[in-house]
């Protein structure tokens, strides 16, 4: 039972982390109609910046804040230099162009930080476990991820639903030309939205960083998951991304935790232990295929003009 609660929390934590990535993607998708494969590079860059700044300043929090700011700046620069020219193009052009960006970022990181990868050590106050329920201990670090991502999600909700900028973002998602015609500085709005998405990806990257080595290519695996989530949720829908992210987080974590045992009932222990990790990674894609076959526009389709 304890294990189950712990795994559920892990699932929640992973799902929320994926939501940060997917939210940026779905915003950019929904508003600029841009397929950005290089979103994972921003996730990687956020982690690298945070690890570097944390090592310089000696403070985890300061490193995280500076890393976040730096990722925001990089994101806005990428938008101004490259992405702006891709809007209105074919999705094929987006895929190819941002694939080129991935190559560029991976190699730039290798050039600057070297091929080894970095570590972002946890501060002492996060590197312990806390009692969340009587008899149930949980890592303070993972708990902090849940708290921070929930706060980020709440911030996003307030920003998009309750502020003037959010109103413009929503308006831009439903009818771009009209928003531009009404005198809104669409270019600036796009840069802000892209920067916001980049910052969210960077936040996800730097929070994930302590639990794994900060390395080149770390964005490539997770970005596909983020895409799966945006598609399951319905492209452009932040609410859909949230629901789908939690769903995928749970499915992945619980699948990895309990699927091998289920598999052992039908297969020999040997075969089960080798096949299980691969097959449980497959579950998410299976979910996506089922969702898309049943609802080709995702769970929360965004109606367009």
């Amino acid at each position: 039972m304890t294990l189950f609660i712990e795994q559920c929390l892990n699932g929640l934590q992973f799902g929320l982390l994926l939501f940060l990535l997917a939210a940026g993607l779905t915003l950019v998708f929904g508003i600029m109609d841009l397929v950005n494969l290089a979103h994972g590079s921003l996730y990687m860059i956020g982690a690298y910046f945070a690890a570097t700044f944390a090592a310089w300043t000696g403070s985890f929090v300061l490193g995280a804040v500076l890393g976040l700011a730096a990722t925001l700046v990089v994101g806005m620069a990428v938008e101004v230099i490259v992405m702006r020219r891709l809007y209105g193009r074919d999705h094929l052009d987006h895929v190819l162009g941002t694939f080129g960006l991935i190559l560029f970022f991976d190699e730039a990181v290798r050039l600057i930080w070297g091929p080894e990868g970095l570590r972002l050590p946890l501060p002492r106050w996060l590197n312990m476990s806390v009692q969340i329920l009587p008899g149930v201990q949980y890592s303070a670090y993972k708990l902090s991820i849940i708290v921070v991502t929930l706060a980020a999600a709440a911030f996003l909700y307030v920003l998009v639903m309750r502020t003037r900028i959010g109103m413009l973002i929503r308006a831009g998602a439903s009818n771009r030309e009209m928003v531009g015609a009404l005198g809104v500085n669409i270019k600036l709005l796009y840069t802000l939205v892209f920067g916001l998405g980049a910052a969210l990806a960077g936040l996800a990257g730097l929070m994930q960083a302590p639990s794994l080595t900060v390395q080149i290519g770390m964005g490539e695996n997770i970005i596909i998951l983020a895409f799966v989530i945006t598609v399951i949720g319905g492209i452009g829908s932040i609410r859909g991304a949230f629901v789908a992210a939690i769903l995928v987080g749970f499915l992945d974590t619980l699948g990895r935790a309990f699927f091998p045992d289920l598999l052992r009932m039908v297969l020999s222990p040997d075969a089960a232990s080798t096949a299980a990790p691969a097959l449980s990674s497959m579950l998410i894609y299976l979910l996506m295929a089922i969702v898309l076959v049943a609802r080709p526009e995702g769970l929360f389709p965004v109606s367009r003009k």
Binding site: R89, L92, G100, F105, M282, A289, V293
Partner: protein, 318 residues
Amino acid sequence: MTPSLTVRNVAIVALLAALVLLPLYTGLTGNRFLLTLFTRILILALAATSLNLILGYGGMMSFGHAAYLGIGGYSVGMLAHEGIVSGFVQWPVALGASALFALIVGALSLRTRGVYFIMITLAFAQMAYYVCAGLARYGGDDGLTIYQRSQFVTPIDLSNKTQFYYVCLALLCASIYLVWRLMNSRFGMVIQGSRSNDLRMRAIGFPTYRYRLICFVIAGTLCGLAGALLANHTDFVDPAMMYWTRSGDLIIMVVLGGVASPFGPLIGAVALLVLEEVLSGITEYWQIILGPMLLLVVLFARGGIDGLLQKVRAKGRI
């Protein structure tokens, strides 16, 4: 219509002549590396040609095309592992398995459009990737070494590098011809019409879903053939053959060469892989040059290299 003497046609004929004569050159100089590199280029060009059929002509942007490379390759690898080395069994199985997978993926994916189609094809390719990574009997993540290449009747010996090169070249040329004939047939017109305006095609009375599905299956089958060749070329198969970045590579080849152009994928494959070789000879950090180059092609050279060659013709005939 007789082919005219344009820069583009001259370039294509020169490229084909160079490809035909390459083994002579490598035979004289003993440069085995070049032959191996170009065999690989031909195989990937075949895969890109098959992708061009759906992506270029059909407007179906599959982001999971590398799955068929993997399925074709694994069919050969798994049969060889079980002691069945006859190419007359291996290759039909490779083609059949790819066709079946394409039929299932296509039947489900073609219900969706746009980005959803990109992502669902990607999802199926990732599933294939994880299934192969989970095949403990066939090496799982580490892949599977093939100890004996596909066996055909006596004069054909795939272990002979020059012969294998010519087999690949012949199959590539046959595929390009097939794609060209197919796309100039009634079937191809329906496919291209459906790319431009699917609604109108259906209104005229074409069941475009069926046409597109058949096109998708043909492309998958052709790519499965490329997979069988690739397995024979590297004597090794592993799940990385169908990772999503490999599908990305294939898309790059098609777009770099020129979408919906019969020779585009070949030009793209040659350009990309030769560029990779050249750049990696110059600097260890070659991708930092390649990435922005791709971006520039997207931004400024629409229609890819083939498009550029055609523009030369438009400016001045020779």
